[in-house]
Amino acid sequence: MSKVAYLVFKDGTTFEGKEFGEWSKSSAQLKEQEVVFNTSMSGYQEMVTDLSYAGQILVLTQPLIGNYGWHHEENEADKTRLQGLIVRELSEGEGSLHGEGSLEDYCQQHGVQGLKGVDTRALTRYLRQFGTLPGLLVQTQEAGVEYWANSQRKIEDKSEHWVYRSTVKEAYEIPGSGHLIAVLDFGVKRNIIRNLQKREFRIMVFPARSTAEEILRHRPSGLVLSNGPGDPEELSEGIAMVRKLYDKLPVLGICLGHQLLALAAGGKTYKLPYGHRGGNHPVIDIRSGKATMTSQNHGYAVEEASLTGSGFEVTLRNLNDGTVEGMEHLTYPVLSVQFHPEGAPGPEENAEIFDHFKDVVLRSSTQKGRR
């Protein structure tokens, strides 16, 4: 029988569950983490290995998790930076004939604290009501209460931005027959890389701290600004770097990459009350009037009004709350989306954005050639 454990919020609200995953080291150093929920009905593995969740505790609203085990090929990164995973029911993971272990094993091996048997719907409703909040995973309620009582005196968190704890250490190349695309890795999902590979690009993946000069030295034909965790406004280096790049070559920004583009062009971002995380968010293309289902995972959004004069034009909008979902630059071949065209998990129907980006890259390089 696994031990009882708790998720405790600052206001004393407590959710009870049972431990799974890695709990041994955590008791020594308690630390609050942002609690977020995702409403996707499939793809727990992709979510657990999505580096955009770095530093967060993830609540899955789909109640049955782990059903088909773990398949290494399904991982979105070779690591996880997820701090906690909260589910209603955890399965042993035998539903697939070709599973290679279980979610539980993975969490254990990769230091993810798990809490199962939780009334995740109640927790989701709580987060919806009060917004994304920091929460604490603890083994006793008392420890939780004590922690929050002392939280006033807590020294400021001096650890690095999660982007730098998620990005690749050194640049590396993935061979391909086509043009060279530079990917700035803020915590890039593999399926972004796979989508670029599928379009025959040669790819160089750069660490988040790379400089504009380092990147340009490789003379890429296009640049992809990847997804990644955390508050974009805190990434001043990244913003400065993007500012130096986006007028020089075709750029595709995805999620955090999209936000960095907006910030680089003088726009602003803001924190959404409880974010968009799921696989069913409708996004409408303002020009065609057609809507598609998108995969989303973001806590921040670009402020539409702040784009005035930035050179960017909003092209896609969320059908539910009207937030900015995509933009294109009026002068430069630069486009970006707030959602995840690579899905994983979630709908694949927006993968054509990569086709569009490829067209942009090809057109741009022929023009350059002519010039």
Binding site: E92, L319, P345
Partner: protein, 1057 residues
């Protein structure tokens, strides 16, 4: 925005309930009509099924209850001149009709636009060849197949594709002669027999994907091209069993996201490729261990699955499909559940649902209950839970088959070998068979290997089996109880494991406050605030169904559609809800059938999607604390809960539990009749042969025998003479759990049925219905006529008087239904049902009286005068209405089609006109009879029917029919001077009769031989052959007489000089 300004739109319903087409289309059609009227469109509706909400005057602007034939719909179109027609709401029936109307140029001539999905798209999805071509073009894999006429061609095909293969003979029913083959030898053998079985000597050979996962997507697409999937579902059992007979889980649980997205993208490509504008269902087979799939089927319309998807997600598919048909884009519509977010989104579930089929094998004990490609379930139930175990157990409880867990006791008797066979040849009990295997220690691994079920689902089942054992070993342990309650175990199952009673477990649970909370179905997994009043229970922490302090009443629904308890009771439940709302009460409905209007979240003020058991209902009542519970509209399911609820102190509104019991319990009811001086057929109970003989002597023959407490629905029998008595009695005694049987006089009289409203003092009778068939044919299977055609005024007065005194004496508050038989001018009471009945919607439609509404007001205690209900019998109008039963025999192999005291029909139609003949004609037409006015009639009569049969034979002959008869009947008819040709009997080794039926050389069969259960008999073989080949078969002389009456009035005679 709408493409044009639609003024008038025709909606076609799906007709009678048959296997494969049940209440889901009432739900779809009703929602569509409401959605259209919301837009100010005038709605014209046609459907032949009176027991539907869609045929209510309130649902459409003009309702035609007419046969669903091309001619009759064409007449409606000619008269109404609608500018649009929606073809996709009425199942395959509606779709086929619209297709025919378009093909015959009716739509063009009358300038009717086909709305939503175009004719071309329908054609492309329905026509095998053009569908294959499109799939090829889209690059979507389909199982390779080939039509062949020679075994050699089949072998060549097999060389190319490999094994296993499925062989399906063309034009045979019930799949006889086909099967799955694994190698050359098997293929040779099965192909040969298939070719022989096929009427046109053709077989379809197809690559078999049996054993793959079966996955379905429900898709909506608008005219702009926005395309969304509402829900995906996975069958627990692999490909091989019809989806309608599969246990279905939504959303898919064993697919990786990549698999889900691959199939989702494929369904979008297909639906876009077809250019669907509305709902569409796409079914896939997915390889269990590698990324390979094939498209199995596409339905370009709303379906049973879309109703399920709608209830499983809370997304109103039919409503949105109707708006799309008008021309709206998905992006222009709002999600009705949140009221704020867009309808152009895909619902997220934070629970799991299990759909469980409801099979009719409790009624048809002789039927072949093996499952395969032919659907056999009449209805279905759905369970919602926060884990799969709970959802599954809720679904099982909802079946109303007295099974409360995964144990099915009859399987404990099976030997290991028998159990193994049961695993390999699945029937309706397969889940329970697997549970029994696991209980015996057989491994999940073995079951995976042998049955192809997914390990995940079998593990869930194993957990339930293991917990069953472990809870049995820890009686009265609070923690253990909480643990199994979280898995969805019922008090009743726990009581049986603890060798206690449900009440004691309930008390223990109350003492320890182990109670469920209620969660909301909100389409968005809690992401947005929703106001849907749609709840399910869960052993969780937070209860979110905030109750209102309002006057409120709970209505219990009737559960799944099954033989004997059909859509009529959903009709009544819905009307009770509407009446409650009108009377200013908050209406709350509890039901578990995903196909129905009653479980639409905007029918009642609040919907609890829960099993209809004492435990589940009590929990809701404890939470809601209503002013009372109404049980009389939900059929026997709801009535059956009355005494349990009353003894727990809940208030039952309407007729009290004591009075319900007085009507239902034989002894007390006899006393009531005695006091009133009313008669019932004589009879009595017996426990041994001696008593049987004595009673038989007393009451005489024929007599009806029935077990006093029926196990598994083992049926009643009619015994015509002494020599038949002993075997029947022996069988009945063994079927009866308490070794007692009841014997009653079988009065071959006219059966009459009455529905009435009473407040215990005043009585109102909306109408008297006369049954066309004499008593002995179950009232649900007989043709009913309103107003009566043969009863004189004095008899009607006696019926009124007796109905009134029975209502008063039983202190009825609300509805009651009485079945009478008139035998030699004497009135006998057959039974009194202190509840709404099957005929209430029929009577409501023909008289225009809001029967349920009035009854509900009476139940609420409103004064008779204030409601304005008249007294006595409602005066008849100038219309005659006939209700005809509809059967699904062709889908149920080995079921005896002969009518008798056990109900067998699955649905009904109504024919209404100015004269009896015309109404009868419409009813029979609506029931699917094609009136052939010439040809051959095969007549084989039991000895007791011969005298009476002569007249019928003569009438057939006079119209010009050729009479064929077996030897005995021929001799008899010849003596009476009728021209007859002899046809050889089957047991003489001749195949002449069956061949004649198969080759359509015979147009009607009139057969009354070998009543009972002699399956091997000639009569049975003839009747089965007739129903399987669509030849009208009459097993009651009265039905045949009715047919003749119609034919005589419509056919010209043949009179040579």
């Amino acid at each position: 925005m709408p493409r044009k300004e639609w003024k008038k739109v025709l909606v076609i319903g799906s007709g009678p309930i048959v296997i494969g087409q049940a209440a889901e289309f009432d739900y779809a059609g009703t929602q569509a009509c409401r959605a259209l009227r919301e837009e100010g469109v005038e709605v014209i509706l046609v459907n032949s099924n009176p027991a539907t909400i869609m045929t209510d005057r309130e649902t459409a602007d003009r309702v035609y209850i007419e046969p669903l034939t091309v001619e009759s719909v064409e007449r409606i179109i000619e008269r109404e001149r609608p500018d649009g027609l929606i073809p996709t709401m009425g199942g395959q029936t509606g779709l086929n009709l619209a297709y025919q109307l378009a093909k015959r140029g009716v739509l063009e001539r009358c300038e009717v636009t086909l709305m939503g999905t175009s004719l071309k798209s329908i054609d492309q999805a329905e026509d095998r060849e053009s569908f294959r071509a499109l799939m090829k073009e889209l690059g979507e894999p389909i199982p390779e197949s080939m039509i062949v006429s020679h075994v050699e061609d089949a072998l060549i095909f097999a060389d190319k594709t490999g094994y296993p293969l499925i062989v399906r003979p063309a034009f045979t029913l019930g799949g006889t002669g086909g099967g799955i083959v694994q190698n050359v030898a098997e293929l040779k053998q099965i192909a040969q027999s298939g070719l022989q079985a096929s009427l046109i000597s053709q077989i379809l050979v197809e690559r078999s994907v049996a054993g793959w996962k079966e996955v379905e997507f429900e898709v909506l697409r608008d005219g702009v091209g926005n395309c969304i999937t509402i829900c995906h579902m996975e069958n627990m059992d692999p490909v091989g069993i019809h989806t309608g007979d599969s246990i279905v889980v939504a959303p898919c649980q064993t697919l990786t996201d990549r698999e889900v997205q691959t199939l989702r993208s494929a369904s979008l490509r297909i639906v876009n490729g077809l250019g669907i504008e509305g709902g569409c269902n796409v079914q896939f087979a997915l390889h269990p261990s590698r990324m390979e799939y094939v498209v199995i089927e596409v339905n370009p319309r709303l379906s049973r699955s879309s109703a399920l998807a709608s209830k499983a997600t809370g997304y109103p598919i039919a409503k949105v499909a109707a708006k799309i048909a008008l021309g709206y884009a998905l992006t222009e519509l709002k999600n009705a559940v949140t009221g704020k977010t867009s309808a152009c989104f895909e619902p997220a579930l934070d629970y799991v649902v299990v759909k469980f089929p409801r099979w009719p094998f409790d009624k048809f004990t002789d039927a072949d209950r093996h499952l395969g490609t032919q659907m056999k379930a009449t209805g279905e139930v759905m369970g919602i839970g926060r884990n799969l175990e709970t959802a599954l157990l809720k679904a099982i409880r909802s079946l109303d088959i007295k099974v409360y867990g995964v144990r099915l006791f009859e399987l404990e008797r099976l030997s290991d070998a028998e159990l193994k066979t049961a695993c390999l040849e699945p029937d309706d009990r397969q889940l329970f068979v697997f549970a029994e295997c696991l209980k015996r220690g057989w491994t999940v691994e073995w079951l995976v290997q042998e049955t192809g079920w997914n390990r995940y689902y079998l593990n869930i089942l194993k957990r339930l089996v293991d917990e069953t054992t472990s809870i049995a070993n820890t009686p009265w342990d609070e923690q253990a109880l909480l643990c199994v309650k979280r898995l969805g175990f019922s008090d009743q199952e726990i009581a049986s494991l603890w060798k206690s009673t449900e009440e004691e477990v309930h008390q223990f649970r109350m003492k320890h406050s182990i109670r469920p909370v209620f969660k909301m179905v909100d389409t968005c997994a809690g992401e947005f605030e929703a106001t849907t009043p749609y709840f399910y229970s869960s052993y969780d922490v937070e209860d979110e169904g905030e109750v209102h302090k309002l006057p409120k009443v709970v209505v219990l629904g009737s559960g799944s559609i099954r033989i004997g308890q059909g859509i009529e009771f959903d009709y009544c439940s819905v009307h009770a809800v509407l009446a409650l709302r009108k009377a200013g009460f908050e209406s709350i409905i509890i039901n578990n059938n995903p196909e129905t209007v009653s479980t639409d979240f905007d029918t009642a003020d609040r919907l609890y999607f829960e099993p209809l058991t004492l435990e589940d209902v009590s929990e809701i009542l404890d939470k809601e604390k209503p002013d009372g519970v109404v049980v009389q509209f939900g059929g026997q399911t709801a009535i059956g809960l009355a005494s349990g609820l009353a003894s727990r102190g809940y208030k039952i509104l309407g007729t009290t539990v004591e009075d319900i019991d007085r009507a239902e319990e034989r002894g007390t009811f006899d006393r009531v009749l005695q006091e009133l001086g009313a008669k019932r057929p004589r009879g009595g109970g017996a426990t041994n042969m001696e008593q049987v003989q004595r009673i038989a002597q007393e009451i005489g023959f024929p007599l009806v025998v029935r077990p006093s407490y029926v196990l598994g629905g083992r049926a009643m029998d009619i015994v015509y003479e002494e020599k038949e008595l002993e075997p029947v009695i022996k069988r009945a005694l063994s079927a009866s759990s308490d070794q007692e049987i009841w014997m009653d006089q079988y009065l071959l009289g006219t059966e009459v049925e009455v529905d009435a409203i009473s407040d215990g003092e005043n009585v109102f009778i909306p109408g008297i219905m006369e049954h066309l068939e004499r008593a002995g044919v179950h009232s649900g299977d007989s043709i009913a006529v309103y107003p009566p055609q043969t009863l004189d005024i004095s008899m009607q007065d006696r019926i009124i008087a007796l109905t009134e005194s029975l209502a008063r004496s039983l202190k009825i508050k609300g509805l009651l239904n009485i079945q009478y038989v008139i035998y030699y001018k004497e009135l006998f009471v057959l039974e009194v049902n202190p509840r709404s009945s099957r005929t209430v919607p029929f009577l409501s439609k023909v008289t225009g009286i809001p029967i349920v509404d009035w009854a509900t007001q009476v139940i609420l205690g409103r004064k008779w005068e204030d409601i304005g209900i008249p007294l006595g019998l409602w005066p008849i109008g100038n219309r005659v209405a006939v209700k005809a039963p509809v059967f699904s025999f062709s889908k149920l192999q080995r079921v005896e089609p002969s009518l008798g005291p056990e109900m067998k029909s699955t649905g009904e139609v109504m024919g209404m006109d100015r004269t009896y003949e015309k109404a009868l004609y419409k009813a029979l037409l609506g029931a699917g009879l094609s009136f052939t006015t010439y040809g051959s009639v095969l007549i084989t009569l039991a000895d007791r029917d011969k005298a009476e049969g002569v007249a019928l034979a003569r009438r057939f002959a006079e119209i010009g029919f050729r009479i064929l008869a077996t030897e005995g009947t021929t001799r008899y008819l010849k003596c009476e001077g009728i021209r007859v040709e002899t046809i050889a009997k089957l047991h003489d080794g001749s195949n002449e009769i069956i061949d004649g039926i198969r080759k359509q050389k015979i147009q009607y069969v009139l057969n009354t031989t070998t009543h009972g259960r002699a399956q091997a008999s000639d009569g049975f073989a003839i009747r089965r052959a007739a129903v399987e080949h669509g030849i009208p078969c009459f097993t009651s002389l009265d039905t045949a007489a009715a047919l003749l009456q119609v034919i005589e009035s419509i056919s010209p005679g043949l009179l040579p000089l």
